[in-house]
């Protein structure tokens, strides 16, 4: 039996219908049309499907769509303010912190969650904070630099 879910995604009220065993990742991509969150592993190891629920960073592949009822969901689609990119998005481009781009939405969401809690992380904190996101292209170094640079700008330093 399908489940009707009323939730908030990137500040907008959204209703969708999903199967009870359908993941939130599949519901976002296939029912709501938000394809920013990607499926890499589907087992919570790669972080490509990262979103926040009520401000908490999670893998949407490990959440049922039905669990989203009444929650506040944020995806990469809500990061930019209209045409104005979020500092993290801008710095990822400036530092060439992506190549194929599959992991990027997850990294952006995870990096924002990290900076929300720790505006001035050192390199080790960034690497631990983003350990749940796998990138097979960049070697991570450019991602770390981009996050450091964005954090600096966001602190107004």
């Amino acid at each position: 039996m399908s489940v009707k879910v009323s939730t908030t995604i990137n500040g907008d009220s959204v209703d969708f219908i999903c199967e009870p065993d359908e993941t939130l990742l599949d519901a976002l991509r296939n029912r709501v049309g938000l394809t920013g969150a990607k499926e890499g592993c589907g087992t919570g190891d790669c972080g490509a499907c990262s979103i926040t629920i009520d401000g908490r960073l999670v893998c949407s592949c490990l959440v049922l769509g039905a669990e989203a009822e009444g929650r506040e969901i944020e995806t990469v689609e809500g990061m930019a303010d209209g045409d104005k990119l979020h500092p993290l998005q801008r710095k990822f481009i400036e530092h060439a912190a992506l190549q194929c781009g599959i992991c990027t939405p997850g990294f952006l969401i995870a990096a924002r969650a990290l900076l929300d809690r720790n505006p001035d992380p050192d390199e080790e904190e960034i690497r631990f904070g983003l350990a749940g996101n796998l990138c097979r292209c960049t070697g991570y170094d450019k991602i770390v630099r981009a996050v450091q640079d964005a954090a600096k700008e966001m602190r107004g330093a």
Binding site: C59, L64, L114
Partner: protein, 286 residues
């Protein structure tokens, strides 16, 4: 599959008790969804406990602490008072998975998944934690070490679920610690792990201790011989050696891709000695 998100423990128990077919409790889902999607289980009913208010709370009580079954490990890591009282339990909980997994996973789920290498379980066993269970016949509380009875198997009966973890009140001069060995620096499953909790007298002698080992047997072990090795000592080198030997002697590990029997048996002693020193320092010992 039917998905239910009851608002009370009683409603959750009723759903589980009358369920026909395979019923599962959903807390964080970081194990359950992986097993579902991998085709290892085919639930007919999933009971999501995150809408049950009491299960979402961490409470300080006269008897100690009550940690609701649906409280994520990330939330435990942000609870300063809990970290102060039980640093070892929280550090173990915060070693499970990534930040993303932390946002979902729970220590009750970790315990009920009954993996021999579950990170939070040795720390809870060392802490003397009990699992508060609700079921069709009412409530009961049992020591955490009696919940898992083998890999993937628990002693819970049909209709029962764990509502909360109960951590005892801390006497003065107490400390706990958890260490694990993994070949990476993060995001891995323990090859060997050790949780130690101890209480000192005013002069730095160990008055009371509990030692637990993970990933060296089908279930997490409580090792009374290891505790006896350090009680009545100020954790001098001889006591630490004896502690290490008792831990190695308790190991009944398997050889697998993560580690050999020999390696696990040896490293159990190393981790126990290190964890004991950390717990001792946290308890105020010098």
């Amino acid at each position: 599959m039917q998905y239910e998100a009851p608002l009370t423990t009683q409603a959750a128990v009723a759903l589980l008790a009358k369920a026909k077919g395979n019923a599962f409790v959903l807390a964080g889902g970081s194990d359950l969804l992986v097993r579902m999607k991998g085709g290892f289980i085919e639930p007919d009913l999933v009971v999501d406990i995150k809408r049950i208010k009491a299960m979402r709370e961490v409470k300080k009580t006269a008897a100690g602490w009550t940690i609701g079954a649906a409280v994520s490990c990330a939330e435990l890591g942000e609870n300063k008072a809990l970290i102060k009282a039980w640093p070892g339990v929280v550090e173990a909980a915060n070693l499970i998975g990534s930040k993303q997994v932390q946002g979902r996973c729970t220590i009750v789920g970790n315990m009920c998944n009954a993996g021999p290498a579950a990170d939070s379980v040795p720390a809870m066993v060392a802490a003397g934690a009990r699992a508060q269970i609700a079921g069709p016949k009412g409530r009961r509380a049992i020591p955490v070490e009696l919940v898992a009875i083998g890999p993937g198997k628990t002693s819970l009966k049909k209709g029962e679920l764990v509502e909360a973890i109960l951590l005892p009140k801390r006497p003065a001069h107490s400390g706990d610690a958890y260490l694990r060995f993994i070949p990476r620096s993060e995001m891995d499953i323990a090859v060997v792990s050790c949780g130690i909790s101890l209480t000192l007298d005013g002069k730095g002698m160990v008055k009371d201790a509990r030692v637990s080992l993970g990933a060296v047997a089908p279930t997490v072990l409580l090792v009374p011989d290891a505790a006896r090795a350090i009680v009545g000592t100020n954790l001098d080198d001889a006591a630490l050696e004896k502690l290490g030997r008792a831990c190695s002697a308790a190991c009944r590990p398997i050889d697998d891709k993560r580690g050999t029997v020999e390696f696990r048996t040896k490293v159990a002693a190393v981790l126990a000695k290190r964890a004991a020193k950390i717990a001792y320092t946290r308890a105020g010992g010098k």
